[in-house]
């Protein structure tokens, strides 16, 4: 053991390296740790490990961490902590520690390296299975390590076997389906107080095990009596362990117990030099075996035994530290007060059932063990040791959670120390008629603090049972949720921070966009340029400028993110006829057609342009966000409904780069880029495709327009994408070629009343609702969605339909999502009738004013009707219009 220095609440102390901070503080005589979070009650250390309720600290040294139980911090040189009065305190500096993740597939995961866990590991290792043992403590051996007893060497040796991996300081935080567990391994905090940038501070393990053995052991719990929370009151197992290790600030102890564990701890306290004034056993009668062993053993040491009694109250000195314990009997008013500075409580064992409940296994109440236990053996999970109710020694616990309390005593009898929740709070929940643990928990906040009720959960269920005369498992069942103990977010993120937090998809032209200073918009995982501001230009000004350039000159847009699916096979035309609402099999080679896809419910689910490249070869485009979903959809029909169709689908989104040049001057620019191409309207018509050399590379040029303007989409192998873009920029320089982003694209398409799936639709719009009846084939016998169009609800009057909205004040851009009400103005008193909502709304350069698209009940029949839009600070009035605002006659698309 080496001595290290540490700082607690600004004061220097020293302790033994590796002992817990709680132990070191007790060694230094710090019994009064801090005040409680809500009621400012003096508190000391209660427990030994993560069950700790009082001694929470904020760590300032190293990486820093809020709200850590002092019982779980291993002492290192230079540790700096502050007591946390139940409130965490995040360091305000960036944590530069490294965090990482690891995956592991094993035959067997053993959670817990106590004796039972080690025995399970040995059993499976003997069978030749690969085993991983995860234990949250620094050393294997479980309770034996606390008792200072040697762990059997043949069990420890198992951890060194070739087919066994042993991870100490590793907490299994969550268990999920099919043997999937997530654990965090603390790798550096116990070494020193430095920030580690080379070795990861915490490693998050993702384990998939064919079988998981839960050997999670148990915690001791407390009893509920008046003033049961003073510094100097501890769980007996914790008190005995600290003092046995020399961390002993105590002189005289009283032990109160419901089982034989209290006797064992009394003996350990005695041996460590604490005068045990009395063992108070709430049991009057015990078995012969207990008489012969436990009771005889303390008699032999001269320790006084008080049978059939319990602690009813305590007193404190002027500082607030325990000074005496009052003992009483249930059936008499006799009281006795004993001077003591330590009250060790053995309230029974509470097995750690958390992981089992994470995967839906219900603990059962064992009257014999006075505990919730989990006895479970299935293909995926088994339990062993104390969790399974195997408590080793026959403890003979009584089912007892505390004495009867007066109303006054209930005010200071704590059920949940961290929440400062008292017996009175609990009683109010019962008196209000609550019976289920879930209700009582929410009413009182018991079990909702940092420790998640590790000690208070069973106590509460026991108290409810006592109050209403039922067994604890008739109250409901204990359900916990991951994580088992709190984890820094950084540990879950691992290295996936900043740029790595989510995969980014970029087009081959992305570097140009970035260099131009365009802000990016996230579209799914794609990064798309939002607009291209000139220096000092606002977004609003940039978008108006870009829109005007496209309508009056020529603009260029990177459309490479559109989903692209290559479809081949002799039955592809027939297949597309089923997938789209309109006809595709009749499309001529070299032509493109816009199509709408519906689900079987008849609701629009994606759209895009599909091109017939050759007789049996098609190229489908989808929305940028819908590509993966559409491919799954096509494959579902091909693989599960129509396997006889010879059709093959391949995603080619990343393989093709698309540059759209748009505007009246695009024909001139196209001519320059592809001198061999006849770009006249007569030989290259709308929706036609031509193969040509563009800027020296082979390209497919399509006359497709998403703005209503004359436009050419240049499709090239992705590798040439940037070359085409740069050629467009240089060849178009004297035409004032204007790059534009997603915002301008949105405005231009909205001016034409073109919908965006996911903006004008939310999965409840039919083609009719979008005023797109023209795209629904009347000739085809069937297509997906067709039958649903005649369903009563789909065909009814009054459905929300796509219309335009013009605010009376053309300078006002109505917020998207705003509600529309009918027959109302600023003076109409509520209630008003809500008839729809705004789906898209912009300022328009072409219109010289704002405009919007909206879905309005029976909207197509209401054009011209006045509407109002109530905003927080005003009522905006306006009128319902057609959804096409620019070039209703489609004259501009041919240039």
């Amino acid at each position: 053991m080496s001595t290290v220095n540490f700082t607690f609440d600004g004061k220097q102390y020293s302790g033994e390296k590796g002992e817990s901070l709680a132990s070191a503080l007790l060694r230094n005589g710090v019994v009064y740790f801090t005040d409680s979070s809500y009621k400012d009650r003096p508190r000391g250390v209660m427990g030994l490990w993560v069950e700790e309720t009082n001694a929470l600290v904020n760590v300032d040294s190293g990486a820093g961490e809020p709200l850590k139980p002092a019982t779980t911090i291993e002492l290192v040189e230079g540790l700096v902590v502050r007591s946390a009065q139940g409130v965490g305190d995040l360091p305000d500096t960036r944590d530069n520690s490294r965090y990482d993740k690891a995956n592991r597939h094993v035959d067997v995961l053993v959670v817990g390296a106590g004796t039972s866990g080690l025995e399970a590991a040995k059993k499976f290792s003997d069978q030749g299975k690969s085993v991983i043992v995860m234990d949250d403590k620094p050393a294997a051996g479980g309770h034996l390590t606390y008792l200072g007893q040697p762990v059997p060497a043949e069990l420890l040796a198992v951890l060194d076997r070739a087919n066994v991996t042993y991870l100490p300081r590793t907490t299994v935080q969550g268990m999920y389906d099919q043997g999937y567990s997530v654990a965090t391994e603390r790798r550096t905090d116990h070494l020193d107080s430095n920030v580690h940038t080379e070795m990861s501070r915490i490693r998050t393990w993702h384990v998939r095990a064919d079988h998981t053995v839960l050997a999670t052991g148990a915690f001791q719990r407390h009893l509920v009596f008046a003033n049961n929370d003073r510094p100097g009151i501890m769980l007996s197992h914790a008190a005995a362990t600290y003092v046995s290790n020399g961390a002993n600030p105590f002189n005289t102890a009283v032990v109160v117990t419901v089982d034989n564990q209290g006797y064992r701890d009394a003996i350990r306290l005695h041996k460590a030099g604490v005068k045990v004034a009395a063992v108070v056993d709430i049991r009057k009668k015990v078995s012969k075996a207990t008489k012969k062993s436990s009771r005889k053993a303390i008699e032999a040491l001269g320790i006084r035994l008080i049978k059939g009694a319990t602690v009813v109250d305590t007193s404190a000195n002027l500082v607030g530290i325990l000074s005496s314990v009052t003992i009483g009997q249930a059936k008499s008013d006799l009281r006795e007060t004993i001077t003591a500075d330590l009250l060790a409580i053995s309230g029974g064992w509470t097995p750690v059932v958390h992981l089992a409940t994470f995967i839906g296994i219900k603990p059962t109440w064992s009257e014999k063990r006075a505990a919730f236990v989990v006895k479970h053996h299935s293909q995926f999970v088994s339990t062993t040791g104390m969790l399974a109710g195997d408590f080793g020694d026959d403890d003979e616990p009584a089912v007892f959670f505390g004495p009867k309390l007066t109303a006054e005593q209930g005010l200071v009898a704590f059920v949940d120390y961290q929440r400062d929740a008292t017996y009175r709070d609990f009683k109010r929940a019962i008196d209000a008629g609550m019976r289920s643990i879930e209700h009582v928990k929410r009413y009182t906040a018991i079990g909702t603090a940092h420790d998640q009720g590790k000690t208070s959960g069973t106590v509460t269920m026991g108290l409810i049972g006592q109050a209403i005369g039922k067994a604890p498992d008739e109250i409901g069942s204990l359900t916990f949720r991951p994580p088992y103990i709190s984890i820094p977010f950084a540990a879950l993120a691992g290295r996936d921070r900043g740029l790595l937090s989510d995969p980014e998809r970029t087009t081959p032209i992305h570097s140009w966009h970035v260099a131009s200073g365009a802000p990016m918009e996230d579209v799914g995982q794609w990064k798309r340029p939002w607009y291209f501001p000139k220096s000092g230009e606002t977004m609003h000004a940039a978008v108006l400028r870009e829109c005007a350039a496209v309508r009056e000159g020529v603009g260029v847009m990177d459309a490479s993110t559109l989903g692209k699916i290559d479809i081949q096979g002799k039955d592809a035309g027939q297949f597309l006829d089923m997938i789209y609402t309109n006809m595709f099999s009749t499309l001529k080679v070299g032509m493109s057609r816009y199509g709408l896809m519906c689900g079987i419910d008849g609701m629009v689910f994606d759209d895009g342009v599909t091109t017939r490249i050759s007789e049996n070869h098609w190229l489908m485009t989808t929305t940028t966000g819908g590509a993966a979903k559409v491919l799954d959809w096509l494959e579902e029909w091909l693989q599960t409904e129509w396997p006889h169709l010879e059709v093959y689908c391949t995603s080619v989104t990343e393989q093709i780069s698309t540059v759209a040049i748009v505007g009246p001057k695009s024909r001139e620019l196209m001519k320059r880029l592809a001198p061999s191409l006849d770009v006249s309207n007569e030989s290259f018509a709308f929706m036609e495709n031509k193969h040509a050399d563009v800027a020296g590379v082979p390209a497919r040029v399509a006359r497709i327009s998403f703005s209503g303007e004359l436009a050419y989409e240049i499709n090239v192998p992705a590798i040439y994408g940037l070359h085409i873009w740069e050629s467009v920029m240089s060849q178009g320089a004297d035409l004032n070629i204007t790059p534009y982003g997603t915002e301008t694209m949105h405005v231009l398409r909205a001016e034409k009343g073109f919908v965006i799936v996911g903006q004008e639709t939310d999965g409840t719009q039919t083609p009719d609702d979008l005023d797109m009846n023209w795209i629904v084939s009347k000739k085809k016998d069937d297509f997906i969605g067709k039958r649903s169009f005649s369903r009563a609800d789909t065909a009814r009057e009054g459905r929300h339909q796509l219309v335009g909205i013009l605010a009376d004040d053309g300078s006002y851009v109505i917020p998207e999502g705003a509600y529309i009400v009918a027959g109302a103005d600023a003076n109409t008193p509520p209630p008003v009738k809500h008839i729809g909502y705004i789906t898209s709304s912009y300022d328009s350069a072409a219109l010289g004013r704002s405009f919007a698209l909206a879905l309005v009940a029976n909207g197509l029949a209401r054009k011209g009707e006045k509407i109002a839009i109530p905003m927080a600070d005003r009522v905006v009035t306006g009128v319902i219009t057609d959804s096409v605002f620019v070039d209703k006659e489609n004259t501009r698309r041919d240039g």
């Binding site: 999937y180 079987i600 993966a628 494959e635 039958r787 649903s788 369903r791 009563a792």
Partner: protein, 93 residues
């Protein structure tokens, strides 16, 4: 996270798959002849059992193939998986 047995690739993590609802709900041959009620039954009504259920999944981030698999809706246990248009294995129940 579920561990799903793809009949083509073997067991893989759930993140590689997309769910496709109940298996063996065939697209009706002559949908135009169906009454509204019959059609609504196809579109909206699924058996939603408590216990074993045959489901459709697609291994989107793997072999991209759709398949059927038995899954217990109570505890998420998986039974045998099988390719479309092959003999359905018996329910593990």
């Amino acid at each position: 996270m579920l561990h799903i047995p793809c009949p083509y690739c073997g067991p893989r993590d759930e993140t590689e798959f997309h769910y496709g609802s109940e298996a063996h709900v065939a697209y009706p041959e002559n949908s135009s002849n169906l009454t509204d009620e019959e059609w609504a039954k196809f579109v909206f009504i699924r058996s939603n059992p408590k216990g074993w259920m045959a489901e459709r999944w697609v291994h989107s981030a793997g072999c991209r193939r759709w398949f059927n698999v038995w899954r217990n809706t109570i505890n998420h246990e998986f039974g045998p998986s099988y390719k479309p248009f092959t003999q359905q294995p018996k329910s593990p129940a």
